[in-house]
């Protein structure tokens, strides 16, 4: 709907962060930048950081129905500041904040994938975020803290409707250097980045006229920044894997346009007890074992051997359904995956989510 970002002569615009960048393109002046590690305070930092240009609340999860039907879901709410300062106005509608959100559900049994996106201004109560009580919403899509301290997540589109409760099983972990996640060499091309790697998740999913009682685990990624990728970076591959021994692994591989993996790529390992270990590019090995070509254009990796030898991890990662590409304004692949392999020589299995940006064919601008 919104923007003619994928111009014919432009580089493939491909990731939500690039959309964010496009929306807030140009001058960084007036925005805060992620230059140094900072102190994180919760629940305050669950709330918005409007002095930074971009921010997102990224929840993914793997769920099973009572009779064992497998589902995956994603609900991401993005905040973008169009200008550093909010214009003064008597009108509640005047704002510099734009929110957009993606909601996707993967139905493994039917090998189906359903995705939707929405936009709203961060004003007039239509979309916004608040720290205490924590709440981020866009129209009736929302993630919000309940009095119990658990979170409620609700989203819907057409005949898909998800409503689940998220109970954090681990404290937030800070990625990168104490939460400062460098994305490319230039100072300031970084974000503040934390995750809550495991939520016990229970609720209901309505799909195509059926309603399922679902349970499983979810993952929250939180990032805010003003600029992130460098011009020579094409996109990233992001892995958020929850293993059955209670540990969780996050890896992001930033891809350069020349096909190599950027030195700033990194990851975080969170043990079952919540203790986190950060590791760098040279500790990560990724081999692509399969590829998938989107019917909408572009070829994605579709299977990986992922190893972090320093942690004794050697994993095979496979998509649950091949086509989990979000055909949103900016296309990317974000899907549920199965994990198998070994940790310290012992067999381990798990589930997770993988995000692949920068592979898609740019979307033709559609007239609505």
């Amino acid at each position: 709907m919104l923007l003619a970002i994928p111009c014919a002569d432009a580089e493939p615009a491909s990731s939500p962060s690039e959309l964010a960048r496009a929306l807030g393109a140009g001058d960084d002046a007036g925005f805060a930048k992620a230059l140094e590690p900072r102190e994180f305070v919760f629940p305050d930092d669950h709330g918005p950081h409007p002095e930074f240009r971009n921010e997102w609340w990224y929840v993914t999860g793997n769920l099973d129905s009572e009779n064992g039907r497998r589902f995956g879901y994603e609900l991401t709410i993005f905040r973008v500041a169009l200008a550093p300062d909010a214009p003064a106005s008597p009108s509640d509608w005047r704002t510099n904040m734009l929110y957009f959100a993606h909601f996707a559900v993967t139905d493994a049994a039917a090998a189906e994938f359903h995705a939707a996106e929405r936009y709203a201004r961060g004003a007039a109560g239509l979309a916004g975020a608040a720290a205490d009580p924590f709440r981020v919403w866009l129209y009736d899509w929302r993630i919000e803290a309940l009095p119990s301290g658990a979170w409620r997540l609700a989203a819907n589109d057409a005949d898909v409707r998800l409503e689940v409760t998220l109970d954090a099983m681990k404290p937030p972990v800070l990625n990168g250097k104490a939460g400062l996640s460098q994305k490319s060499a230039e100072p300031g091309n970084a974000s503040y980045y934390y995750s809550v790697t495991r939520f016990d998740t229970n609720g209901r999913l309505a799909l195509g006229g059926d309603t399922f009682t679902v349970a499983g685990t979810s993952w929250l990624d939180r990032e805010w920044s003003t600029s992130a990728l460098a011009p020579d970076q094409a996109g990233w591959d992001w892995f958020a894997l929850q293993l059955d021994d209670g540990s969780d692994l996050m890896v992001y591989a930033l891809r350069r346009r020349d096909g190599t993996i950027d030195a700033e790529s990194a990851g975080t390992f969170t043990a079952a007890d919540g203790s986190a270990t950060q590791f760098a590019r040279d500790e990560i090995r990724i081999d692509v074992t399969d590829r998938w070509t989107s019917p909408r254009g572009g070829t994605y990796p579709a299977g990986w051997r992922l190893a972090v030898p320093s942690l004794g991890l050697a994993l095979e990662v496979e998509p649950v359904v091949a086509d989990q590409e979000l055909d949103t304004l900016v296309r990317y692949w974000e899907g549920a995956v199965d994990v198998s392999g070994t940790r310290g020589g012992s067999p381990v299995a798990g589930r997770g989510y993988v995000e692949l940006t920068g592979y898609a064919k740019p979307r033709e601008l559609e007239r609505p």
């Binding site: 709907m1 919104l2 923007l3 003619a4 970002i5 111009c7 496009a22 929306l23 393109a25 140009g26 169009l82 200008a83 214009p87 106005s89 008597p90 009108s91 509640d92 509608w93 005047r94 704002t95 510099n96 734009l98 936009y119 709203a120 201004r121 004003a123 007039a124 109560g125 239509l126 919403w137 129209y139 009736d140 819907n156 601008l365 559609e366 007239r367 609505p368």
Partner: protein
């Protein structure tokens, strides 16, 4: 090889080019007027529908509130709690850039996708769309305009400009122009909803919520209605557009009827020239018949001739009509803007249907005009056809039947008027029946009048005068038609002038009565509140104040203006109650849930004192007792008066549009006005004297009737051509008679004088014949048409001056038309003329 008869036809037409030209001109002008009015109406209608299409988009329904609009949190709740997606908020108002009146529409680009394509259009404007979206959303005053509109205002993307929104000057910046090939957006200033709220001072309020409900989503409407707080209503979008358009239907129908009048006059003109051409060719017709050409062949020949004339004339008329349409469109659009709704029309949309109408009308009129003369002229036995006298004799014998037919048609018109109730089209049809009926009676009138006048003429002007008068009566077959054409045109001027004159007098009376206060103040900047009213009331020299607030109530079947009045003691006299005693009405009106309704409102809704009307209030629909009907010629005619107290009980609207100021007897209004204008504070007042408002009111009135003036002058022009053609015909036909007179010793001056006297007489007779028809037409226009179209009741005032000047107009027109034929007849060489056969 062209058959002999066609060659004969061509030869004749070639020898009489002026006659051909006049017939063509007559029809062409008639067709031009029809086409022009049709195009102007259709263009205005189309422009309105297109602009509504751009505004309404794919919305099937609209959520509307009371006059104060909708609290914006209703929209937020529908989105965040009800999860409704195909809805979009709109804040709309009036704006003006330079002299251009426009609609300001404030939208939320993120909500537009399901309803309108502004967002896509904005993204399509080329180049980098991002800064444009950012500017549109975050910059106060950022607007987009349609490219043609921006060009006509000499604005380019990036230009800053001044505009007036709701009477207050604002600064805008054009951030982009939208492509607009279909001219749908020409009347719009599109801004972010925040900008619209800021400019309109409508913080916290929406004008409406547009909703798209898919046809197969059955429960959706009920769910939406259930989710709305009381006081908000859901109306069908298409019905709302139609209701708006319907407001102007009466106006447009009247214009079409006036254009038909011009064609009707044109039709007589064709009849005139065809009968004459037939007369001229009676020797030829006789000969052809004697040679064995059948009557059917002859009739088809004459009709074919007319059809060709009609075709040529229609083609000319259509071209002329398109050009004239451009001029009329301005007038039509201005009247519609004054009276009904905002419409921006930049150019005439040339509709094939309008052109086809013109073609059919032109050829049809030519054929209809030729049919009777053709049938008649070919009906004689060949030998008789040669004799001119036979024809006149026949015309004379037909006279009683023609007159009887005329009377029957007039009777039928009366019946139509009586039985057709409130139907406007039937009323107009009756007008045309009256015209036809009178036309058929006119020849008898000419005969009787000329017979009666002949002795008088001899006594006054001698033999020449007597001959002139008798000549008119004796050549009824043609002069009759000329008289009719002119009489119709003149009667139309009488009818319309009397109607407009009566109407204007009524409006003047009404304005004088309504404007009771000495001064009227409205906000030039800021808004009027109770404190300000109290301040004005305590000003030196102010005896009393009244206030008024006018808001629109929208219902499925149209719009009502609700006027909330806080009366001063002197205000009551300003409202003329038609059907109730003021003393019985006003106390109840002040305290109860009761209203006084305007005459047009009562007429259109069929309500009378004692009934109740249901109005959508801020707290839901509510019934109000109708206490009386009041006279109003207000442009927004469908008004309901309610006391301020009652209004405050039912509407959350503390706005005040204007303050009526009654000045102390010993104070001078201009001093008080000056003091009010100089007041300090956030609100600046614009103060107008009652004389100023009265003049402004009459100005709107006069503007509305400019187009009426234009149309009847055109009809008169056609009639003038008709008389000219008839005079030329008479002169030509009587060439031998005149030559004889010349040979007998009459001077060219005497011949010219005789012909001039004849045409003058013809004009006089037309004028006299037009009097009764004109007065009857005026009566029908005032009592039937105005009432049916607008609901107004107007007292008919016949100004003798109008009647006298109309008769004079007829005489002058006829004399002017007679100048050239008379001059030509005088100059003709008697010898040549007599040798013609």
């Amino acid at each position: 090889m062209i058959p002999v008869r066609f060659r004969a036809s061509l030869g004749y037409l070639r020898r009489h080019p002026w006659q051909l030209a006049l017939a063509v001109i007559g029809i062409a002008v008639g067709v031009a007027v029809i086409v022009a009015v049709d195009l102007a109406n259709a263009s205005a209608r189309k422009a309105f529908l297109l602009s509504m299409d751009a505004v309404v988009g794919k919305a099937t329904h609209q959520v509307l509130g009371g006059p104060e609009g909708i609290p914006e949190n209703v929209y937020t709740r529908l989105r965040t709690e009800q999860g409704m997606n195909a809805i979009a908020p709109v804040v709309a108002g009036e704006a003006r850039i330079g002299t251009r009146g426009l609609t300001l529409i404030g939208v939320d680009l993120f909500a537009e996708r399901a309803l309108r394509d502004y967002t896509g259009m904005l993204a399509d404007t080329g180049g980098d769309a991002e800064p444009l979206f950012r500017a549109f959303l975050t910059e106060p005053g950022a607007v987009v305009l349609a490219a043609p509109l921006a060009a006509s205002l000499k604005l380019e993307p990036g230009s800053a400009f001044e505009l007036t929104v709701d009477g207050t000057a604002r600064s805008g910046r054009l951030v982009a122009v939208l492509p607009d090939e279909e001219q749908r957006l020409g009347g719009l200033v599109v801004a972010d909803i925040a900008t619209a709220q800021e400019w309109l001072g409508r913080t916290g309020r929406l004008s409406r919520i547009d909703v798209r409900i898919e046809p197969d989503d059955e429960g959706a409407l009920a769910r939406l209605e259930a989710a709305l707080p009381p006081g908000l209503r859901v109306l069908g979008a298409a019905g709302r557009t139609q209701a708006t358009l319907d407001m102007s239907a009466g106006f447009m129908t009247n214009l079409s009827a006036m254009s038909l009048l011009a064609l009707l006059v044109g039709l007589f003109l064709v009849m005139n020239s065809t009968s004459f051409s037939v007369l001229q060719r009676r020797p030829l017709i006789g000969t052809l018949r004697a040679l064995g050409v059948t009557r059917r062949e002859l009739v088809s020949l004459l009709l074919a001739e007319s059809a060709v004339i009609g075709l040529v004339a229609a083609a000319l008329g259509i071209a002329l009509g398109v050009a004239l349409g451009e001029r009329l469109l301005d007038l039509v659009a201005r009247s519609i803007n004054d009276l009904y709704f905002r419409v921006t029309v930049t150019s005439v949309a040339v509709e094939p249907a309008s052109l086809l109408k013109g073609l059919v009308a032109g050829v049809g009129a030519a054929l209809a005009g030729a049919a009777i003369p053709a049938w008649e002229a070919t009906g004689y036995r060949p030998r008789l056809a040669l004799a001119r006298s036979v024809l006149e004799e026949r015309a004379r014998r037909a006279l009683p039947f023609v007159t009887l037919a005329g009377l029957v048609i007039i009777g039928a018109a009366v019946v139509v008027l009586v039985v057709s109730g409130r139907n406007l089209v039937a009323g107009l049809a009756a007008v045309f029946m009256l015209i036809s009926g009178f036309s058929l009676c006119a020849p008898l009138f000419v005969r009787v009048a000329s017979t009666a006048l002949a002795p008088l003429a001899r006594r006054l002007g001698g033999t020449v005068a007597r001959m002139a008068v008798a000549g008119v009566g004796a050549s009824l077959s043609r002069s009759g038609i000329a008289v009719v054409a002119l009489a119709i045109a003149v009667s139309a001027t009488i009818g319309v002038s009397v109607m407009v004159g009566s109407f204007r007098a009524a409006v003047v009376d009404w304005l004088d009565q309504s404007l009771q206060a000495d001064l009227y103040a409205r906000a030039k900047q800021g808004r009027i509140d109770e404190a300000l009213v109290a301040g004005v009331a305590s000003q030196d020299g102010v005896a009393a104040v009244s206030t008024s607030r006018r808001v629109v109530l929208e219902e499925a079947d149209g719009r009502t203006w609700l006027v909330a009045l806080a009366m001063a003691p002197g205000s009551y006299a300003g409202i003329e109650l038609i059907d109730a005693e003021p003393a019985a009405v006003w106390p109840a009106w002040e305290s109860r849930d009761a209203v006084v309704v305007s005459e047009p409102y009562a007429w259109h809704r069929g309500v009378a004192p004692g009934d109740v009307v249901r109005l959508p209030t801020g707290r839901g629909p509510r019934e109000f007792a109708v206490l009386a009907t009041y006279r109003s010629y207000d442009a927004n005619a469908s008004s309901v008066l309610v006391s301020r107290r009652t209004f405050d009980r039912w509407f959350d609207d503390d706005g005040i549009d204007s303050i009526g100021v009654y000045v102390e007897d010993d104070a001078r209004p201009e001093d008080v006005a000056a003091a009010l204008r100089r007041r300090d504070g956030a609100t600046l007042l614009e103060v107008e004297s009652n004389a100023g408002l009265r003049a402004a009111g009459l100005d709107v009135f006069d503007r509305t009737f400019v187009i009426t003036d234009v149309l009847y002058w055109l009809a008169l022009g056609v009639a003038f051509v008709g008389v000219l053609s008839a005079m030329l015909a008479l002169q030509l036909e009587r060439a031998r008679e005149i030559a004889t007179l010349r040979a007998l010793g009459m001077t060219p001056a005497q011949v010219g004088g005789m012909l001039a006297a004849q045409t003058g007489l013809l004009g006089l007779l037309s004028g006299l014949a037009a009097l009764p028809l004109g007065i009857v037409m005026a009566w029908v226009l005032i009592v039937v048409i105005n009432r049916r179209a607008f609901g107004w009741r107007i007292e008919m005032l016949v100004d003798p001056g109008i009647l006298a000047s109309s008769v004079l107009l007829a005489v002058v027109a006829a004399l002017l038309a007679g100048v050239y034929p008379a001059w030509r007849a005088g100059r003709a060489s008697p010898a040549l003329a007599m040798r013609e056969e």
